[in-house]
């Protein structure tokens, strides 16, 4: 078995205080590997997004460890953690969170700009990633002029522009119709996934399960089993 890209051990996360205090993650342990497209499925409120946030260095767990490529990310300070996300993680948010006042190419260039690349150089390079997702001809348009599927592809281009080792996709098909959703995830599997990259997807869309390497089921803050692929 190769070394995992992500190794989470006994992760616990609580939200709220007093009587409203609830446990979102109840000692979750999971490994994710390079070259795999790992789905985490489960009903709403089961803790999928919380787990994704903890694994990607966005939400600090109350206990447990998360190691990415062998390093415990939650021992890092806030600036180092930001650098970790910038250099190692690519995010595709559920609502895309594209910047409507920027062009499509400028949106894609954001991770490069945060990496202190010159503006014109970053935008030029972003166009290459737009070409990968088939939207080079939309480079100068604002995202609001694009369809939902196209916006999702712009979000994917932005996520991979920083050449991350790990791609995090939160409900990537939630805002899309069935065919478009399948096309997008299929595109990601065939064009974005490679042996040096791990893709984590949170979804409850069964129609895209055919693209998963492995599917883990989550309920009430615990991983309850493997729906597809090897053991959790």
């Amino acid at each position: 078995m190769p070394d995992p890209a992500i190794n989470a051990t006994n992760v616990v996360k609580w939200f709220g205080e007093g009587e409203a205090r609830t446990q979102a993650l109840r000692g979750v342990s999971v490994d994710a590997y390079f070259g795999e497209m790992l789905y985490i499925v489960g009903p709403s409120g089961s803790g999928k997004t919380t787990l994704l946030s903890v694994l990607s260095g966005i939400l600090r767990p109350d206990s447990g460890t998360v190691s990415v490529e062998g390093s415990n990310i939650w021992t890092l300070g806030s600036d180092k953690l930001a650098d970790f996300r910038l250099h190692k993680i690519g995010f595709v948010f559920q609502d895309f969170h594209l910047f409507p006042r920027l062009t499509t190419a400028e949106n894609v260039a954001i991770p490069l700009i945060l990496k202190r690349r010159a503006w014109s150089e970053a935008v030029a390079e972003a166009t290459k990633y737009l070409e990968i997702v088939g939207l080079k001809n939309r480079a100068e348009l604002p995202p609001v002029k694009l369809s939902g599927g196209e916006q999702q592809r712009v979000a994917i281009a932005r996520a991979i522009a920083g050449q991350p080792d790990i791609l995090i996709m939160d409900e990537p098909t939630a805002s899309l119709d069935g065919d478009t959703g399948q096309a997008i995830v299929g595109f990601v599997k065939h064009n974005v996934l490679n042996e040096k990259r791990c893709i984590l997807i949170v979804t409850h869309d069964d129609r895209i399960s055919e693209f998963a390497t492995r599917i883990l089921k989550m309920e009430d803050g615990v991983l309850t089993g493997t729906v597809k692929g090897g053991p959790a």
Partner: protein, 378 residues
């Protein structure tokens, strides 16, 4: 421009409605602040016009004098006493008073008459027509060509008129550094003729103008004048005394302060609220940037850049608008008293910086509080 700055710039200016509202707020506030303080500075300069134009280093006056127009006659011995003071190079009397001029068309016009020392003509204006020695001619007056000049029917050398029922003739046209506050033309003549033409109380010397032998003698002259029971002020001190009178004893200063504070509040309200709304509307974008890997200080830098850019652009537009208005006003009203100084530019700049700082403070607080996790939760 660094990438992060350009990103902040594009997010700001591409939101045209918000950016316009922000600029309008700042521009309006700067315009009001500069316009009011410029009018005040203009009026203060006009109020000290005689002091500036005569240009004497030291003015000796009755201690009750508050403004240059409010003259209190000095007994004749004061001039002799001053001339005998240690450190005085020379001292001359000057007359300053009002008169009524009857123009050729039969209308009357109030004027200010300055009577210069006959011997030295100390404080004489710069002539643009005529010769200064003609002031010694019969009934001779020199008229100042300032915005009030047309009120005398645009006279020329040789124009005749009546001053308090005496014949007067223009022998020269002069220009001065500053025109007066009260909207009346100014005539120069000799001290003796002024006394001869104008009704006078017992004491006729308005001020004794003094030139010290050296700068170090100023304090000594002031002390000697005080011992004599009079007040000696340098030119700058006299201008300050006049300004002090208008600021603190006429209500002008209080009104200026109130209007300046109101302008500041208007600017802060419009710009602060609009900028805060701008930040709130982009909160998810800042959260997304945070999730992608932007550091807290980079987000702060973006907000400060946006606030500073808006503030400086609005500041420039406000100044431009103010200059435009003053220029247009002067085309219509040549004696429109407004003067943009470094002082009022500085005041407006400080206020704009405060507006930008307060606006960005609340934006920064919100942005730092947003958790990248909130973006995931939607």
């Amino acid at each position: 421009m660094r990438g992060i700055h350009k990103l902040a710039y594009k997010l700001l200016v591409n939101d045209k409605a918000k950016f316009t509202a922000l600029l309008v707020g700042i521009t309006f506030a700067v315009f009001l602040i500069i316009q009011m303080t410029a009018m005040f500075a203009g009026m203060m300069k006009r109020a000290s016009a005689t002091v500036i134009n005569l240009g004497a280093s030291i003015w000796i006056m009755d201690p009750a004098v508050q403004t240059v127009a409010q003259t209190i006659g000095l007994p004749d011995y004061v001039l002799d006493a001053v001339r005998s003071m240690q450190g005085v190079s020379y001292a001359v009397p000057v007359y300053s008073g009002g008169a009524l001029v009857k123009l050729a068309n039969g209308t009357y016009q109030s004027v200010t008459v300055i009577g210069l020392d006959d011997t030295s003509l100390f404080g004489r204006p710069q002539l643009i027509q005529g010769k200064i020695e003609d002031i010694y001619g019969e009934n001779a007056f020199i008229v100042v060509k300032d915005p009030e000049f047309p009120k005398l029917g645009n006279p020329h050398v040789g124009t005749e008129f009546q001053v308090n029922d005496h014949r007067g003739v223009i022998v020269g046209i002069a220009q001065v550094a500053s025109s007066g506050l009260f909207g009346v033309p100014t005539l120069y003549t000799t001290y003796k003729r002024a006394l001869q033409y104008l009704p006078n109380p017992r004491f006729t010397t308005a001020y004794v103008l003094v030139e010290p032998k050296s700068a170090g003698d100023v304090i000594r002259i002031k002390q000697q004048a005080e011992a004599l029971g009079y007040l000696a002020l340098t030119k700058d001190e006299f201008i300050d005394r006049i300004s002090h009178f208008y600021i603190y004893q006429t209500g002008m200063g209080t009104n200026l302060l109130i209007m300046t504070v109101m302008s500041f509040i208007v600017g802060l309200s419009i710009s602060g609220q609009t900028f805060y709304t701008f930040v709130l509307e982009n909160l998810d974008k800042f959260g997304a940037l945070k999730a992608i890997g932007a550091k807290g200080r980079e987000l702060i830098l973006m907000i400060l850049f946006q606030a500073s850019f808006t503030a400086l652009t609005g500041y420039g537009l406000g100044i431009g608008l103010c200059v435009l208005l003053i220029t247009l006003a002067r085309l219509r009203l040549p004696d429109y008293a407004a003067l943009i100084t470094y002082w009022n530019l500085g005041l407006a700049f400080v206020m704009v910086v405060i507006i930008a700082a307060i606006s960005s403070y609340f934006g920064v607080r919100r942005v730092l509080r947003i958790e990248a996790f909130d973006i995931f939760r939607g």
